[in-house]
């Protein structure tokens, strides 16, 4: 079975692949026989791309990041719908598709509506939805399941907030998170040239937290730092991405 997880950015993709590998036993899958080749979208070279297959027994998962939530619907319509429409055999399409995106300041319903209006495919938050699509093979119908995971689940925000919440599970780190957040909140007026959006403010809070926790790696990319954290110890991350357990 093939599943697709579509997320906003490379950071999301790294975390998701971490959970898939370390929590659910998937392994990175190199398509040496070309079996999955025709199911791998090729990104616009302008995008900050990430597309990797993972395999666990007969379950194959493709994680794709599309460089921002604004690109999700367009990417889905341009690359994924043609894949789904050009076949009806399970081995040649995605049977399950999960979109993971940040809640930001929107409601779940608003996000569902935007995706539906742009893709014509129904994605419901935190719920599997069975979708029927007419294929180009003699107009035979094919079916697949969709799922929309909006993070954080409980409140507004983005992936960075989920990570910070995860760090706060540890009392030693909780104080660092709180003080880093307070620092950014205090400075954001003075740094308004840089911290122009809620999203960037969240990134700055995570950046400061990580810089304190790993000062020697402060000049590394955040993604590299995130890769080196044992996320299986953080309940928040495991609970948030619990939907990945249902891809097999």
């Amino acid at each position: 079975m093939n599943s697709l997880v579509l997320c906003e950015g490379k950071t999301d993709a790294i975390l998701l692949s971490y959970v898939l590998i370390n929590q659910y036993g998937y392994k990175p899958f190199k398509d040496e026989n070309g079996d999955k080749k025709n199911l791998t979208p090729i990104f616009n070279s302008n995008l900050n791309e990430y597309a990797y297959w993972y395999k666990n027994n007969n379950s194959f998962v493709l994680i794709c990041s599309v460089d921002g939530c604004d690109n999700i619907s367009e990417f889905f319509s341009k690359y994924i719908i043609p894949i789904q429409k050009n076949d009806y055999k399970n081995e040649n399409i995605f049977e399950k598709i999960v979109i993971i995106r940040d809640k930001d300041d929107k409601t779940n319903e608003e996000i569902e509506e935007v995706i539906l209006s742009k893709t014509n495919i129904s994605f419901l938050s935190n719920k599997w939805e069975k979708v029927c699509i007419e294929t180009k093979f003699d107009n035979i119908n094919s079916f697949f399941l969709t799922y929309l995971l909006i993070i954080p689940i409980e409140h507004s925000g983005a992936l960075e907030d989920v990570v910070l919440t995860a760090f706060s599970e540890d009392d030693n780190k909780k104080i660092i998170v709180e003080k880093s957040c307070k620092f950014i909140d205090d400075i954001k007026q003075d740094a308004s040239t840089y911290l122009v959006s809620r999203r960037l403010i969240s990134k700055a809070k995570l950046g400061v937290t990580l810089a304190i926790m790993s000062p020697e790696k402060v000049f590394h990319f955040i993604d590299e730092m995130l890769k080196n954290i044992d996320w299986t110890k953080y309940n928040t991350i495991m609970t948030t991405f619990n939907v990945l357990s249902e891809l097999a």
Binding site: N38, L39, Y79, P82, I83, F137
Partner: protein, 366 residues
């Protein structure tokens, strides 16, 4: 193009079951897995072009050229669908609105045949006893609806075919060419006498073909007949470097192009069927050969059906902008679906295939 097939429905023919193709184009590229029915589809067009028993037996033996085969009768029986006695049913609608419905049905019975009858069929062998043999009793026929005149021409022929009379199948009556169709099998380029003749007789076309042959050998100047040691004509190529040499000494690329060029000319205002189009052509020459075929088919007003297994060939066809932009070419994927018990198809425009190839390495052949 009046004679262009617009739609075709194959109820049963060899492995094809309930195949329906609509909006066929000037150029139709058939792709699909092995045994998906690509060759059968070409054969079914050839079959209905001349709906008589003689052609049916000729068609059923086209695949046996390279193999040890049974009798014509065995080949004929195996061309019929196995699942029931409904026989072969094919109907097609032309751009003109004319419609052709072809049928060949019946069943196999056991019958006694006496030595005199047997000897009439096979004169070189003397038989001395009655034999119990299998015989196909059925009918072959067609309805042809002419939209202009609103006439329906009906034709039906009783068939009693067995292993003995099938041996002399060329004696069966029936000249009923309804469509002009030329067929080139993957190995036909090895014997291209007829193609050569057609090209030689059309001086203007010959010049174009010679120009195209330079794809394979820039020193080819002419094609001509010479006489062999016994005075019989043989096909030759004039080369500015090595002189006149028999075509048989040339590589398969030259023979293939001559075969296709002859096929296009002989299908003038009709249909050309090429099985495994890319056979004998080097990948680096695909673009030039395809360009030649496209232009020649357009000039001779020929609807083209080709099969291919080569993704490189597909990609080269997609590079011909004029074909893609003018929507003159379709890619038809055939698939035998055992769950649905039918042959399913997917018809895509070249533009769609090109876009999908670019976006996700789309495998159009499966």
């Amino acid at each position: 193009m009046e004679n262009r097939i617009n739609k075709i429905f194959v109820k049963n023919f060899r492995g094809l079951v309930d195949l329906e193709l609509n909006k066929l184009n000037r150029i139709n590229v058939l792709v699909g897995d092995n045994n998906s029915g690509k060759t059968s589809f070409l054969e079914c067009i050839k079959l209905i072009s001349n709906p008589n028993l003689n052609n049916a037996i000729t068609m059923c033996t086209t695949r046996t050229k390279q193999l040890r085969a049974g009798s014509f009768f065995t080949e004929f029986i195996n061309m019929l669908p196995k699942r029931d006695n409904s026989g072969i049913n094919i109907s097609c609608i032309f751009d003109s609105g004319n419609e052709l419905k072809y049928r060949l049905n019946g069943n196999v019975v056991q019958t006694l045949i006496n030595p005199i009858e047997m000897s009439e069929y096979i004169k070189i062998i003397k038989f001395d006893s009655m034999q119990n043999i299998s015989q196909f009793n059925g009918k072959i026929g067609y309805d042809f609806y002419n939209k202009n005149t609103q006439d329906i021409k009906k034709n039906e022929q009783e068939i009693k075919l067995n292993a003995f009379n099938a041996f002399n199948y060329r004696s069966f009556k029936g000249k009923s060419n309804l469509m002009k169709v030329a067929y080139i099998s993957p190995v036909d380029y090895a014997g291209i006498n007829r193609s050569f003749d057609i090209i030689i007789k059309n001086e203007k076309y010959k010049e174009i073909v010679i120009e195209s042959l330079k794809i394979f050998d820039p020193y080819i100047e002419d094609i001509l007949y010479m006489k062999d040691d016994f005075g019989d004509p043989i096909e030759c190529v004039k080369n500015s470097k090595v002189g006149i040499i028999p075509l048989s000494c040339y590589g398969d690329g030259v023979k293939k192009l001559l075969s296709v060029a002859g096929g296009i000319a002989s299908a003038n205002n009709g249909i050309l069927l090429i099985d495994e189009f890319e056979t004998a052509i080097h990948i680096k020459n695909y673009d030039d050969v395809f360009n030649f075929v496209d232009k020649a088919c357009e000039k001779f007003n020929v609807q083209l059906f080709i099969t291919t297994h080569s993704i490189e060939a597909v990609d080269e066809l997609l590079k011909i902008d004029s074909l893609v932009e003018n929507s003159d070419i379709n890619f038809i994927t055939l698939r035998k679906d055992y769950d649905l018990n039918k042959t399913v198809s997917r018809t895509l425009s070249a533009r769609e295939v090109r876009e999908n190839r670019k976006n996700f390495d789309f495998e159009v052949r499966l």
